[in-house]
Symmetry: C2
Subunit: 687 residues, 2 copies
């Protein structure tokens, strides 16, 4: 059975790794790059188009600003990459921005970063899938005609994959990412060759269109504002850059150096692709508008609402390779695939961050434990539900979704870089070695510039996008922040309440009870009851009795008769129950025992059947379960289940074992445990 269902999985992701071999899988750079960089690299599929879209508001003439905006994005990218190279060296434990902000700026800043990142994971799923669908749609019209349904279907597919515990695999990421990167580079080189050497005139499908400027002849402050908005949209290219700093423990040694190198490679690839696509879009005269239906003019009249505006990367590919050509289709498919992988990245990053937050008691503790399927499942379903909701509300329109994006990223960039500045200041206070000091001062300069620049971008993004949708992202951040604060407060309150007193003073609840009175609940004489009696005797309580509730007079009489006939050497006590209840008489009896001798503990022993199926469960143990629930509220009581395994319980055992072998999403990028613990301690000493 399990062999059969494994086949498609094997085909998809190669031979499955056993979870106990997880410790051995460390990522070489050539695999780490696609695993961590699918998100930032894939964003070149939509970021250049967003720049052109915004500029088009001032008419085609504004397109000539696009190279300058590209330059600004490149500078920003280099700044951010340079800054994060410092992070990677200073914090090799993989806590990322959250750890940096918490350590250096305090828990509130840390929690703000965490909230921002959680929102961004949701948006990564929504934006990447929307854009992937649009790219796929440029090759397959059916997809674009049923955009929302297709997008939600991809969400469902990714969710099921991750719920099933399909493990992230290096190869799964490597092939499409490299095909995508290779395809874009071939496109850029071939386009340059055709244009500069062959002197071909390449024309995008929209090259002949005109744009109706919404604001003709924009100048002064309005123009600056528009350029800043175009720049903020271009900043979408930077999302996901921080992923590597979370994943240092998954790298091969020397971990920090390898991570820093991968980061640099990623930055270089991203800016080259970004600039290349912008340049080709200019050359092939791509025309894009925010509202293509009314603002794109073809032959004197607007194109109308039936017109589908293809993404810039696909228009350029059509111009360079030719519509429907093999390379065009391959690139469209690889683009869509790499975007879906970027979405999958969030499915892995969300529980990873959740596990770190759970460790700091901002989220339910069980998220911390690797492989707690139920807890991870809840997180994945939350992520998928929020992303699907956004996709439906925004009609799976990547342009509208991007308005919400980026806020979170730049909140965490800014706080993280500010934290790094503090980090270096602190170290400089104690460091005497001149060489090291010089190095630190250099790092501090980089991080200061990074903090300043990303902070500036954050202000720009907020100013230009707040009313366009960024408020939704901020609202989401506030909700996460408030929830996590409340959870932490609860845990702190409980921790205070249960803290063991330092002196073993005889406070009320720590009075060691002097004796224990055992009570075995009996409804009938059957194997489970006999077993419970046998076990109860083994425990040698100070006193032992069997207890039954008289629900049916005839049955009780039969029970008493059989008790005597079998000569069971435990006294049988029958409680009367005028209303055929079981719970109340037992609770009352236990309370009366406690009242008689308040210093004694009562041990209630309950025989239980163990069955294999949920529907069988409905047929058994219900009153035992309820009784147990109620007994837990009674002080001075311990409740013992003596299970009796029915034959059908074998089925459940098998299911439980299978659950244990489930792979938690994010395992690969989290790295093996020993390494994390080691580094965590290291950074712990630095605090």
């Amino acid at each position: 059975m399990s062999k059969l269902t494994d086949v498609p999985k094997r085909i998809l992701i190669g031979r499955a790794l056993r979870s106990d071999r997880l410790g051995e899988t460390l990522l070489p750079k050539r695999i780490a790059l696609p695993v961590f960089a699918s998100d930032p690299l894939s964003s070149v599929a939509y970021a250049p188009g967003e720049v052109l879209l915004v500029l088009s508001i001032a008419g085609v003439s504004a397109y000539h600003f696009s190279p300058w905006i590209a330059v600004a994005v490149v500078v920003l990218m280099f700044t951010v990459v340079a800054s994060y190279r410092q992070n990677v060296h200073a914090y090799p434990s993989g806590g990322g921005d959250y750890e940096v902000a918490t350590t250096n700026l305090g828990p509130r800043a840390g929690l703000t970063v965490a909230s921002a990142l959680l929102v961004d994971y949701v948006l990564t799923v929504a934006v990447s899938i929307a854009s992937g669908i649009e790219n796929l749609g440029s090759a397959i019209p059916f997809v674009i005609e049923h955009k929302v349904i297709c997008a939600v279907a991809v969400v469902v597919l990714l969710t099921l994959m991750n719920l099933r515990g399909v493990k992230e695999s290096g190869k799964l990421f490597a092939i499409p990412t490299y095909v995508f990167v290779g395809g874009v580079f071939i496109m850029i080189v071939w386009g340059a060759f055709r244009g500069l050497v062959l002197g071909d005139t390449m024309r995008a499908p929209t090259a002949g269109f005109h744009i109706r400027a919404e604001h003709q002849g924009l100048a002064g402050f309005a123009l600056v504002f528009l350029l800043l908005r175009a720049f903020s949209s271009g900043c979408a290219a930077l999302t996901g850059v921080e992923a590597i700093s979370n994943g240092v423990p998954a790298f091969r040694k020397p971990k920090s150096r390898n991570a820093a190198t991968t980061l640099a490679m990623m930055g270089l690839l991203a800016v080259t692709m970004f600039c290349g696509i912008i340049a080709l879009a200019m050359t092939t005269k791509v025309r894009m508008a925010e509202n293509p239906a009314v603002d794109l003019i073809r032959g004197g009249s607007p194109v109308g609402s039936s017109f589908v505006q293809d993404p810039v990367i696909s228009q350029v590919a059509e111009a360079v390779f030719g519509d429907g050509s093999f390379l065009f289709v391959v690139l469209a498919a690889a683009t869509a695939l790499v975007l879906f992988l970027a979405a999958n990245t969030a499915y892995n990053g969300f529980p990873l961050l959740g596990s770190i937050l759970a460790q700091d008691r901002y989220l339910p503790r069980q998220l911390h434990t690797r492989g707690d399927r139920l807890a991870f499942s809840n997180g994945i379903v939350l992520l998928a539900g929020a992303a699907a909701l956004l996709l439906i509300v925004y009609g799976a329109d990547s342009t509208r979704l991007i308005q919400l994006y980026i806020v979170g990223v730049f909140v965490s960039f800014t706080l993280s870089q500010t934290g790094m500045v503090r980090h270096w200041n602190r170290h400089l206070r104690t460091e005497k070695d001149q060489a090291k000091r010089r190095h630190m001062i250099r790092s501090r300069a980089i991080n200061t510039f990074g903090a300043f620049f990303t902070g500036l971008v954050l202000v720009v993004v907020l100013a230009t996008k707040f009313s366009h949708g960024a408020w939704v992202a901020l609202l989401g951040m506030c909700i996460f922040y408030a929830t996590m604060t409340a959870i932490r407060k609860h845990y702190d309150r409980v921790a205070d309440e249960i803290a063991a007193p330092e002196e073993p003073v005889p406070t009320d609840d720590l009075v060691r009870p002097s004796r224990v009175h055992s009570v075995v609940l009996i409804s009938k004489i059957h194997r489970p009851a006999l077993r419970a009696l046998a076990y109860a005797k083994l425990l040698r309580a100070d006193s032992l009795e069997a207890l039954s509730v008289n629900v049916d007079a005839a049955e009780t009489k039969a029970l008493r008769a059989e008790w005597e006939r079998r000569g069971i050497d435990v006294p049988l006590k029958i409680l009367d129950s005028p209303y055929r209840e079981v719970t109340r008489p037992v609770i009352d009896y236990v309370k009366s025992l406690r009242k008689e001798s308040p210093r004694d503990a009562v041990s209630v022993i309950i025989p239980e059947y163990v069955v294999g199926h949920w529907y069988e469960h409905l047929l058994h143990n219900q009153s035992a379960l309820r009784l147990k629930g109620r007994l837990l509220f009674t002080p001075g009581v311990m409740v013992t289940s003596v299970p009796y395994q029915l034959q059908s319980s074998e089925a459940a055992k098998v299911r439980a074992r299978r659950r244990l072998e489930w792979n938690a999403p994010g395992a690969v990028r989290r790295g093996p445990k020993e390494h994390r613990d080691h580094h965590h301690r290291e950074s712990g000493t630095k605090r």
Copy 2:
């Protein structure tokens, strides 16, 4: 708080009875009549109309058959009432048709009766509410314009009332039922007075209409078939007659005689009202059609789909009292209310029958215990869901729903009466007293005629209504039958598996373990852990150790250090967990203990927090719960929870106490426990 929410309840049903006073509430006849007879009495609100509807298929001329059909219904009613008076005397325990059929015809017949009754309870809710809405709609047009929504709203209201545990109260039933009966009698008497003495011509609102006969000049077999169909529809007046035979224990002494008298009164009232309404409908020239939109002709053209065909009782009231008159409105309201009370009857009868079936292990055992709120809730929700589904599917149209009705009732009538014949045969074989023998022979004759007549009606109902919807009811019966058989089979299999062997031979699983090894799970040193350790020591197991799982190296180190510092005199064992799991290492360790010494039992002691809110529950104990679940599958283990009550647990305690005070629906008609047990034993000896 609870005082406040009680106020509307108090207003509605008078001072609440404490559940421990339940034993004192026995019903006098004047209260028992409305409690048990609201269902059969209320059916005169729709049964006469259904007769006219069917006859109209052959045109107005067929209306002159209606007195003959009324006579047939009256004869049937007297037969059934006379038969059930025998049941009530012979089976005073309240098992009703199910018990009679099971005892005399075997478990399969009993289960068939039970399935039929369960289906009929669903239909009672659907038909009564649909008809109540139609009657209410004759006074308030808004209601009839939003028929389905209003009907579903009434289902929801009744469901909430019964889920909340609002107890059935005699007064609640008495007032509207007597108002209804009184109103109908005033109408009949006043109508007769106006017609015969004053010589008024009373005209129903539809008196001037013509009916387009779907089959003009029907004769021979076709006419007989139509008359039989009209008769089956009229039989709807008989539903619920059996209710009294289920409720004998709730009567004051002499129970059987009082129940028999009440049954006779109910029959007399029902036939008088039925015949009176038919007679008035003839006099006032009420015209009704199955498809009024096309078959009712007003001034030469069909009335169209906007026409609302009012129920016969409301048309007659309009003719007798005048449209919008005070008595007309009172009667419409009382009719609707009594129909809703009839629906509520099913909410009480369903769990009552469920509890009897659970006693015989055809339904989950917990249904048997009075006051198991969860179990009853599931039954109520099932009943309400099925009824709401029927109301929606059939557009809350009582005429269409009645096609499904009656099948179940006559299945149980027929089987019950057949069972009674066998009952008398058996008793006649041993009875020597001539006076008693004569009495029995007379009873047997009555039941034989009853069985024959109801059996005949069952055949007629099946033949005339199968394709009109009765097949749905039969399908429902099959589903109930199959489910209950499967549940019984499961219980029997488990009972076999766990039966205690007669000889205490040392079979494998009954080997008394020789020693017990206690293991206390520790994650941190806090009050719950210290309490668990203290309790574990009390139990004096043969060996005791504390067990912790190394999930985080630093935490484990701290735990070990504090353990030593505090000088805790229990050895602390640390299990390694390479994958940060808790469950697997503990399970493996317990298994290894069992393997080392297979004859020893292992006692696992788990400290647990008790919190007050479900959302707090999500934050705690998850790994403990999962571990407990898994440990139950491990043989030779007992699992002990040592609860530590946090302050917030007080809230849950209060909630739990409130749950215990909940009233199970059907409590009043079930009668107090002592009486039931007593009678059950009585009838038990007869078997």
